[in-house]
């Protein structure tokens, strides 16, 4: 779960990391009188906020109100900002990049540090990035902090502040089950103060039960995405016309890949997970119908469940809701012949080969 900037900053603050003074508004009328210059930032989760005009400076109340009005009128990556964070502008001495991520290769958290802050880390040359794995069993150690301070060339107060800050960021990352905790830019302000001018925090979805305090965090989900999450189904909206339901992430992706060989394009990705539970197949079909694809391709590789049970589930949905779009099915496993026969009899296209099913769905779906 990605946290909105204002929420991420509140979290940093609670771990003792300094952030700019600011407040949240939900309409331009909530802008407070401006004494020092302020920056207004659209609270959206997608990238490219700056380019889309979602970040604006203002040095008077009127400017700020106008900027707010403009921002509330934007659509950024399909999403209209509901909130704006209004912050006092920070005096920037230097900008640093600092983040902790999960390094999948090592299976450990990795701290990234660059003297070039304020730009995307992907654009920074490799040799300018310092890397330290932080082992959860030992945490951030003195020698690491020494290395970071040396790399940044910090002295005096900013050295002490950075030391405290980087340890706090690790504790936050660990305790909050983060996948990413990024401060970019981390600003060296006047008199050695260190301030997190922007922050991105992603909390591991699978650990959200440990963090009930995040249950009200906004996620920018569509209606269907919300419904899929409630039913524990992986839902991804794609560009094509063919709705694909399969059990297992790899199999669902493979089905999409196979479609493309025949010119078909997936429009919806629905992964049931490793299960072939007929109830879940029914849920997925219902959800898929709401997404209105041109054709539905159902690909189930059965393990625990017999194919006739899965077929019964499909037919139950068909009976209950009616399925007006063509439904191509490919179900493998125990009793697969029986299942196929049941489906064929009911007018559902039932095939045994994945490739054939993909060809059929592609033909119907067009391209």
């Amino acid at each position: 779960m990605k946290l909105q900037e204002h929420r991420a900053k509140r979290l940093l603050e609670s771990y003792g990391i300094a952030v700019p003074e600011g407040y949240l508004i939900r309409n331009e009328g909530e802008v407070l009188p401006v004494t020092d210059p302020v920056v207004l930032k659209a609270q959206v989760l997608s990238g490219g906020r700056g380019k889309a005009g979602g970040v604006r400076l203002a040095s008077s109340l009127e400017e700020a109100r106008n900027a707010a009005k403009d921002i509330f009128g934007l659509t950024i990556s399909g999403y209209r900002p509901k909130e704006i964070l209004v912050e006092t502008e920070v005096d920037i001495d230097r900008e640093i990049y600092l983040s902790i991520v999960i390094d999948r290769s090592a299976g450990l958290p990795l701290l990234l540090l660059s003297t070039e802050g304020g730009v995307e880390i992907e654009t920074v040359p490799e040799e300018k990035i310092g890397r330290w794995h932080i082992h959860p069993f030992v945490g951030v150690k003195d020698f690491m902090v020494r290395g970071m301070i040396e790399r940044l060339g910090l002295e005096g107060r900013s050295k002490k502040e950075f030391d405290r800050m980087v340890r706090a960021l690790w504790i936050l990352f660990y305790e909050m089950d983060c996948e990413l905790a990024e401060i970019n830019p981390l600003v060296l302000a006047e008199e050695g103060e260190i301030v997190a001018a922007d922050a991105k925090v992603t909390v591991n979805d699978d650990a959200l039960w440990r963090h009930p305090e995040l249950s009200d965090a906004e996620e920018e989900l569509t209606q269907l995405e919300t419904e899929a999450r409630e039913k524990d189904i992986a839902f991804v909206q794609l560009e094509g016309d063919i709705g694909v339901i399969a059990n297992g992430a790899g199999l669902t992706m493979a089905t999409l890949d196979n479609l493309s060989l025949h010119g078909g394009r997936g429009g919806v990705f629905l992964d049931l997970g490793g299960t072939d539970d007929p109830k879940k197949v029914e849920d997925a079909l219902e959800l898929m119908l709401k997404a209105s694809p041109k054709v539905i391709l159902l690909n189930i590789f059965g393990g625990m469940t017999r194919c006739d049970s899965v077929a019964s589930g499909v037919l139950a949905v068909k009976k209950r809701l009616g399925i007006s779009v063509p439904l191509v099915t490919r179900i493998r496993g125990t009793n697969e012949k029986l299942g196929r026969d049941m489906l064929s009899e009911a007018g559902v296209i039932a095939l045994g080969s994945l490739d054939e099913a993909c060809r059929k769905a592609s033909e119907i779906g067009g391209s």
């Binding site: 290769s105 959860p136 089950d177 790899g250 590789f301």
Partner: protein, 288 residues
């Protein structure tokens, strides 16, 4: 032989009294696995599918000398179950449970390293060596004994491919699903090394997917250290960037983890690439 398992592997089912645990215990027994015990706290003394249930791993191990376990315990309690297995001296622990917090997986994997246990998974279908043993949840019917090793990040996609192999008359030495999470206990590289050393494996099928760099690392190992032919399929060629494709690990982030990058690396390392799963048996037939 085969890798990791043998016909003498003695398995404990952790969470045997749950729906999945009970069903899979039965399926493993049908496969020929020596399922010697189950563990569910508070259910000690019961029997499931004829298998004695114990309250703790310690009791189960001291009574049965088990050396492997399979974990069906719900995500919130999975870490404790895995640590219990490690402390009880279990050598091979297949963690089937999905949606375990990454931090928990990270910690039990690191702890296993200290104690010398091997973790497979989490969020994986386990491991099966046809004719010998299965510590996993793959359907029994798809397997046939043979000399192809299969290693995969996926579950059902692996079934699809193994099934296609079997239908093509190509048997398997060992099939292992290493799991679809970002942090896993046993990597492609470790499995490839075992297959390379295994006398009963002639060639290897690698099933990867988008996300991370595990396939690229596998490619490096294949190029540098493998003499046996490798056949690979990478799922997700058509997946868009930035979207989590079912598996927590299957996401193209910041231009990393694309199918193309993986396919290129593997090709360069000498692996044969299938563009759809069912192409794998054809490639093997052509090559071997």
């Amino acid at each position: 032989m085969s890798i990791i398992l043998s016909s003498e592997t003695r398995v404990i089912v952790q969470g045997i009294t749950g729906h999945q645990g009970t069903h899979q215990a039965g399926a493993m027994l049908d496969f020929g696995t020596k399922v010697v015990a189950g563990v569910t706290p508070g259910k000690g003394g019961e029997r499931v599918k004829g298998v004695p249930v114990f309250n703790s791993m310690r009791d189960a191990v001291s009574s049965t000398s088990a050396n492997a376990s399979i974990v069906f315990v719900p995500a919130r309690f999975a870490m404790d179950a895995v640590l219990e297995a490690i402390d009880a001296g279990i050598e091979t622990i297949a963690v089937i449970t999905e949606k375990i917090p990454i931090r928990d997986s990270m910690e039990f994997i690191q702890y296993a390293r200290i104690k010398g246990s091997r973790i497979i998974g989490p969020n994986c279908p386990g491991i099966a060596s046809p004719g010998l043993s299965k510590v996993g949840i793959m359907p029994n019917a798809i397997f046939s004994r043979g000399r192809v090793g299969v290693v995969s990040r996926s579950g059902t996609l692996t079934y699809e491919i193994v099934n296609a192999l079997t239908e093509a008359g190509i048997g398997q030495s060992t099939c292992i699903g290493i799991g679809g999470d970002p942090v896993i206990g046993t990597s492609f590289v470790e499995v490839l090394r075992l297959f390379e050393e295994d006398k009963d494996t002639d060639s290897v099928v690698l099933v990867g997917e988008i996300g991370g760099t595990a396939e690229e690392e596998a490619a490096r190992f294949i190029g540098d250290h493998m003499s046996k032919p490798v056949f690979a399929y990478i799922a997700g060629r058509t997946a868009p960037p930035g979207k989590r494709m079912g598996h927590a690990g299957a996401i193209i982030a910041r231009n990393m983890g694309t199918a193309q990058s993986k396919i290129d690396s593997l090709t360069e390392a000498g692996a044969r690439i299938a563009s759809v799963p069912q192409e794998i048996p054809r490639l093997i037939e052509k090559e071997c």
